[in-house]
Amino acid sequence: MEDESILSVKDLCKAFGGVQANSYVNYEMISGELSAIIGPNGAGKSTFFNLLTGYHLVDSGKVYFKGRDITNWAPHRITRLGISRAFQVSNIYPRLTTYENVRQAILAQQRRTLNLFVPANQLARQDTFELLEVAGLSQHADMLAGNLSQGDKKRLELAIALGSRPELLFLDEPTAGMSGEETHDTMELVARLNQEMGLTILFTEHDMSVVFGYARRLTVLHLGSVIAEGTPEDVRTNDEVQRVYLGEEA
Amino acid sequence: MDVSLLIAQFMSGLSRGMMLFLIASGLSLIFGVMNILNFAHATLWLVGAYCCYTFWYVLQESALGLWVSIGLAAIALAVIGWIIEVILIRRVYDRDLPEQLLLTYAMVLIVGDLIKLTWGVEDRIIVRPNLVSGPIFLFDIPLDSYFIVVILVGISVAIGLWLFLQKTRYGHIVRAAVFSREMVSALGIPIPRIYTGVFVLGIFIAGLAGAVQAPVGSITLGMDMAIIIQAFCVVVIGGFGSLLGTLVGSIIVGEVYAFSILFWPQGALVLIFIVTAVILIVRPWGLFGTPMRV
């Protein structure tokens, strides 16, 4: 089971106007991985996620999930198959409570959203409280999500993504806008999800200490193309990466 | 089917289309720039028609009475448009769409009743001057000579708007505002002034259109209701914010109406709605619009 391919991307291309946002990207993921994609702003990381999850239509190339061709599927079908994502800008239901936010994802996962007759507050209580506990949001359960702090909103975003019970999880800058401590807590949670629940996770991140601290494999995107791939150590010493990426940081 | 009848019907459709263009161009401009759909546009158009009647009534002895009245009515509506913008519209720039729609819809009711209070319920008729009262003959086919006036005004406004948008600095700013209001305000241009200007321009054209419409037949309460929906159809077909689209959409709607009157009189409006619905479903941004604001 360990080395089973969960995600396979072949020659993925996407252009916006004249700009090639993703150009012949090839990418493989093995079940159980915790990996990161890095690259300067505009490298095409978000576009990559958007193509994999059906948010944008692919120009050319293929996406396979567990051997199944899911290229250009509608987002809700991809989600139901077991791929979930958290967005870069926290994408929650501001005028529902934290509890209702998470419950919504769980109800959708349990295929109960077409139920017209049973009050929603009688359903999925256990699952919702468990997930809130996991995400460390229990004490804010009755708060309107729009009133949460920035860090809690990101965590809620993560909890909603987990509510879909994915096998493969994409996290777009999961710690953006968090304090040092929050960042640490969140990444520890991500690592736990990966190790204890066996979730395959791919994330992007700006903070290099986070990337090198948690990801076991790194892929570097630059101007829409993969320029390097390997263990954090490989990537750190790669000449081209030094030039286009770390050079820019310095 | 007689060719001369077809041509006569074509000209009638063209004149109808041009009238729709005059209304829809302002509607489309206001929506394109301000993102506000003005339900009251045709009601103000009707105010233009009534104003024209009043001016004509005062001036009817003079030779140029009607033409002066049309100009005065257009100016009067520009002033009314300015007042409405400053008092009402400006307050809802940053509101949600339903609230903006409701406000302009409430204006339909208010202005409609104000018309009734001012001009009463009986129909008003303007006696046309001799120049445009009889038929004129195009290849021996008799046509209503006033159609020519409507078509000429429509074409002039189309050209005038095009020149304004393409050749003047203010026009460039307005076109930029259609694409991004952030950009325009980043350039240091006060957005409310552009909005007010655009709204006044739109209502001015509507007033002009109403005044031009006044001598076509009788001026009746409730005329605005039928026309506003058709103007929406025009704008949807052509694409919001596109001048060319509005022109093409107007002619399509005008001609569809004119010819279905000939072949299937009950179905004229039904046909227009079906065309509109099809366009909305396959191409919500219209024939000439750009897919941005959905």
């Binding site: - | 720039y93 406000l103 009743d113 179905g267």
Partner: protein, 325 residues
């Protein structure tokens, strides 16, 4: 629990009211109930799904005509007529809604408006079947419902039953999915919800209840006319909901009470009702967004934790573009 007491009180008042008022006001009460149901069905699309339908009268009108035609031409019993109206209106909503839910925002509003007018013109022009401009006369309810009070209680039972159904739906997982779609369509898609299908189902349910409301109108008014489908009729539930408050379940009903009473009162001494309601709507939009109940909630904070609330939260998205410089 506090809310339960309120409801019980309101219910008792509603039960004894026709016994102490004259027939004119009983007619007004029936109108309140019917239009309140119409507005509540509209609010399933507006308040819960977040889309503005400007053609909701189409389903109301279709429901009215289904019952009217069956009663006048077929002498079908009223209960069967009501059922038939719901089915016919639901089918109409299914066919037209299939296209409407592909669009959102302004385009949704315009397409619903266009379809509404389409239905209006079909009913208006189809003289041989619908009676066209003349409408349908002689829609007489069965003998037991002939008196104003009897028809009032009959309407009350049906409207209350329908409102309970709508309430249950709004509190069900489906109802919360509608709120989710309103709050964040994109997020909802990414938790695995087929947006269009859910919007269509909601659209059809709203159409069914609008059809039921319309069906009650004919036997009450003894006649119907194509006006029931115009966009002015579509404007009525919009007004009521905005006056009452779209984010509260009772908003449309409260709006119906205010609107209908006001209309009965104002039209008593002036013909300028549109002017009056226009000014009221303008004031509500400018100074009281959230409607009467929205204002009450803000002031009193009674129904705090339940229904979706309008408390102005800083939403990160939306129209925040700076103007004025």
């Amino acid at each position: 629990m506090k809310r339960m007491w309120w409801l019980a009180l309101v219910f008792i008042v509603v039960l004894i009211l026709p016994l102490i008022t004259g027939e004119f006001w009983v007619h007004v009460l029936v109108e309140i109930l019917i239009l309140g149901l119409f507005a509540a069905s509209f609010n399933m699309i507006f308040g819960y799904m977040g889309q503005l339908s400007f053609g909701h009268a189409a389903y109301y009108g279709v429901g009215a005509y289904a019952t009217g035609l069956l009663m006048v031409k077929g002498s079908v019993p009223l209960p069967i007529c009501l059922l038939a109206s719901m089915i016919v209106a639901g089918l109409c909503a299914l066919i037209l809604g299939y296209f409407c839910v592909r669009l959102t925002g302004i385009y949704f509003a315009i397409l619903t408006l266009a379809f509404g007018q389409l239905i209006y013109y079909i009913i208006f022009q189809w003289y041989s079947f619908t009676g066209g401009d003349d409408g349908l006369q002689g829609i007489i309810p069965p003998d037991v419902l002939l008196s104003a009070n009897a028809y009032y209680y009959f309407t009350l039972i049906i409207v209350v039953a329908a409102l309970i159904a709508i309430w249950r739906i709004s509190e069900s997982p489906f109802g919360y999915t509608m709120r989710a779609i309103r709050e964040n369509t994109e997020r909802t898609r990414f938790i695995g919800i087929n947006i269009r299908r859910y919007m269509l189902i909601n659209f059809v349910i709203a159409g069914i209840f609008a059809g039921l409301a319309g069906a009650l109108w004919g036997p009450f008014n003894r006649s119907i006319a194509p006006d029931l489908c115009t966009w002015h009729q579509s404007g009525i539930p919009v007004f009521m909901t905005v006056i009452g408050g779209p984010f509260n379940f009772f908003g449309p009903m409260v709006g119906s009470v205010i609107y209908t009473f006001l209309m009965a009162f104002v039209t008593g001494f002036t013909e300028y009702w549109p002017l009056t309601i226009g000014l009221i709507i303008t004031c509500v939009v400018l100074f009281m967004p959230g409607g009467v109940l929205g204002l009450c909630e803000k002031k009193i904070r009674v129904f705090r934790s339940r229904a979706p609330q309008l408390d102005p939260i800083e939403t990160t998205e939306g129209k925040s573009s700076g103007y004025g410089g």
